[in-house]
């Protein structure tokens, strides 16, 4: 019997020849990532002080202040300050702040290597699956255990294989692939499992696009959202000075055991929108008519990368956004910002009426820089539309592609980007 990617990666991390789905094993962690909001300040600092206040291997720990940056209140400032000091006191050289959402920074700093185990205190850590790493979100107390021992236990997940074949039409993006898959599998349809994405559509995508898809695997309950590493993956990592000494590019064997295999045709896919208040409440954008928007958000670890900003600017360039709509743009990192700036993309967005924010998680999770009021509607290229997430519980969040966000900002209503190309 062959093995899945997850089984191969976890077996290596457990130091055994082979494991099978549902086995429970202890693994060595290759990268332990913390952010500010759920990092040292929650249980970790106190707990370690009480038990053993030393990190098992500071080289393997990355800390990124991204949620409360730039701080909007004194409390947020204290949390970022605490995180920074804690990192320094524990010898963590890989500390980054104000540079963008942690998952993007993890990728750009070469900390997500094919075949490695990456665990982080944020549920979208699964984005690292786009690099063929077994990457997953964990809680703070579990992180505390890892920081002391370097190990944690994992139940080897079963795998749902998701195969996308064909070429995406004009105006249809990776985000639409992601939303359609989630609508099909359901909010809890991959709970405890790995979703492994494969097929021509995926292999034709850039890493920017692949990351958008892996990022949202957790929105189906998945533990990981894996993709095989290929030449593009290696090129991205080399361009970001990643140390590839210990990398292990794995593929699932043909005779591996899959929980199920899902097949989708990219050619027929339309731009999709996730409607309030669930990420699997997915409908073609063409079904949504007369849905007024107050805020359009282009940003986050899901929809704020270079290709996202570029795609949105194709729609917005030379036009003005609808009166009364605010378009907020937060590039996914300083690197993305610089590139988009150099290419004139940010200037085009600003010219159309956008407000450009620093790279941050603030808007997506409703902690600063652009909350919504009661009765307001936001169309967002981020990853979650749960009730109250971006501010008022009487507000509504729709999720769409960066192009759908751009088109909606122009029309003042949720709009089909294909009408603006």
């Amino acid at each position: 019997m062959g093995k899945t990617m997850s089984e191969k990666i976890i077996a290596r991390a457990a130091g055994v020849d082979s494991v099978s789905a549902d086995d429970i094993v202890w693994v060595n962690v290759d990268r332990a990532m913390m952010d500010d909001i759920l990092g040292p300040r929650v249980q970790i600092a106190d707990g370690m002080k009480e038990i053993h206040d030393k990190v098992w291997d500071p080289e393997k720990v990355v800390i990124i202040s991204d949620h409360y940056t730039p701080p909007a209140s004194e409390k947020q400032a204290e949390i970022v300050n605490f995180t920074r000091k804690w990192a320094a006191a524990h010898g963590i050289d890989k500390y980054y702040e104000f540079q963008g959402p942690c998952h993007q920074i993890m990728a750009e700093t070469g900390n997500v290597i094919p075949g490695s185990i990456v665990l982080g205190t944020d549920s979208h850590t699964c984005m690292g699956g786009a690099f063929g790493a077994f990457a997953s979100g964990i809680g703070s107390t579990e992180m505390m255990g890892i920081l002391i021992t370097g190990k944690t236990w994992l139940r080897v997940p079963r795998t749902i294989k998701v195969r996308w074949e064909g070429i995406l039409g004009e105006g249809v993006m990776a985000k639409d692939v992601s939303l359609y898959t989630i609508g099909s599998i359901g909010h809890a349809g991959a709970t405890y499992m790995t979703v492994e994405y494969t097929g021509d559509t995926i292999w034709n995508m850039s890493l920017d696009e692949r990351m958008c898809i892996s990022n949202m695997a957790v929105e189906m309950g998945a533990k990981a959202g894996l993709m095989e590493a290929d030449e593009k993956t290696i090129d991205f990592l080399k361009a970001h000075d990643a140390d590839l000494t210990n990398m292990m590019a794995v593929t699932s064997d043909r005779d591996a055991s899959f929980y199920t295999v899902k097949e989708y045709a990219a050619d027929r896919l339309e731009p999709m929108v996730a409607c309030p208040h669930a990420v699997d409440n997915v409908h073609p954008v063409s079904e949504l008519t007369n849905q007024k928007v107050d805020q359009a958000y282009l940003g986050s670890c899901t929809g704020g990368r270079y290709n996202d900003l570029k795609a949105a600017s194709r729609i917005l360039k030379g036009k003005k956004i609808h009166k009364g709509v605010r378009l907020l743009v937060s590039p996914a990192s300083t690197e993305v910002w610089k590139r988009a700036d150099k290419d004139g993309i940010l200037a085009d967005l600003v010219e159309s009426g956008a407000t450009v924010l620093g790279p941050t998680c603030g808007v997506c999770v409703g902690v600063h820089s652009g909350l919504i009021a009661g009765g307001e509607t936001c169309i967002s290229s981020s990853n979650r539309n749960f009730i109250g997430r971006m501010g008022s519980k009487q507000g509504n969040i729709y999720l769409g592609s960066p192009m759908t966000v751009a088109a909606s900002a122009l029309q003042g209503q949720i709009a089909d980007p294909r009408d603006y190309l």
Binding site: V42, I51, H52, T121, S123, S140, T141, V367, F386
Partner: protein, 167 residues
């Protein structure tokens, strides 16, 4: 032996972490933030929950964020266990790690608001005293029981480190 007995507080499917612990209050300590627990679906939750109460939910309780503030808030308010048809993965692990018992039960939806419930984690049974019914629920593997019996991962690691230092 963990003895769990309390009144059921009933919830539906997909109660996510943004509902359990809204992100806007996360910069506060658990004491202040827990006042807002569940308020999007149950405005007075923090007021009506009593020490020992058991949450009886539908499917996929705890979906979304990795935030441990969700189980911590429930625990702080006095919730003694959560029953759901099945849980979102990270929430499930977080509950165990902070010492809040979680059991999966296919018949969780039969539990009514205010029912008196008794959970035997070792036997894998839920006794609905009010309705005089018994449901099967998940049993936890030994390594997880060990964490729960210690009162969470922090306590367990502390005991282990003490033992190692004494050797």
């Amino acid at each position: 032996m963990i003895d769990i007995k309390g009144k059921a507080l009933k919830f539906g499917d997909n109660i996510n972490t943004d509902i359990i612990s809204p992100p806007q209050y996360m910069e506060m300590g658990i004491e202040e933030a827990s006042i807002h627990a569940m308020e999007a679906v149950d405005k007075d939750f923090a007021k009506r929950v009593k020490k020992g109460d058991i949450i009886a939910a539908g499917k996929n309780f705890g979906s979304g964020s990795s935030r441990e503030t969700s189980p911590l808030a429930l625990k702080y308010l006095g919730v003694s266990a959560v029953v759901s048809v099945f849980f979102a993965r990270i929430f499930y692990r977080n509950c165990i790690n902070v010492g809040l018992p979680v059991v999966e039960c296919e018949e969780a939806e039969k539990i009514g608001e205010g029912d008196n419930i008794e959970i035997d984690i070792e036997e894998g049974t839920i006794n609905n005293i009010t309705k005089q019914e018994t449901y099967k629920c998940s049993k936890l593997p030994p390594h997880i029981m060990k964490i729960l019996e210690s009162g969470g991962l922090r306590n367990m690691l502390m005991q282990e480190y003490k033992e190692n230092n004494n050797e």
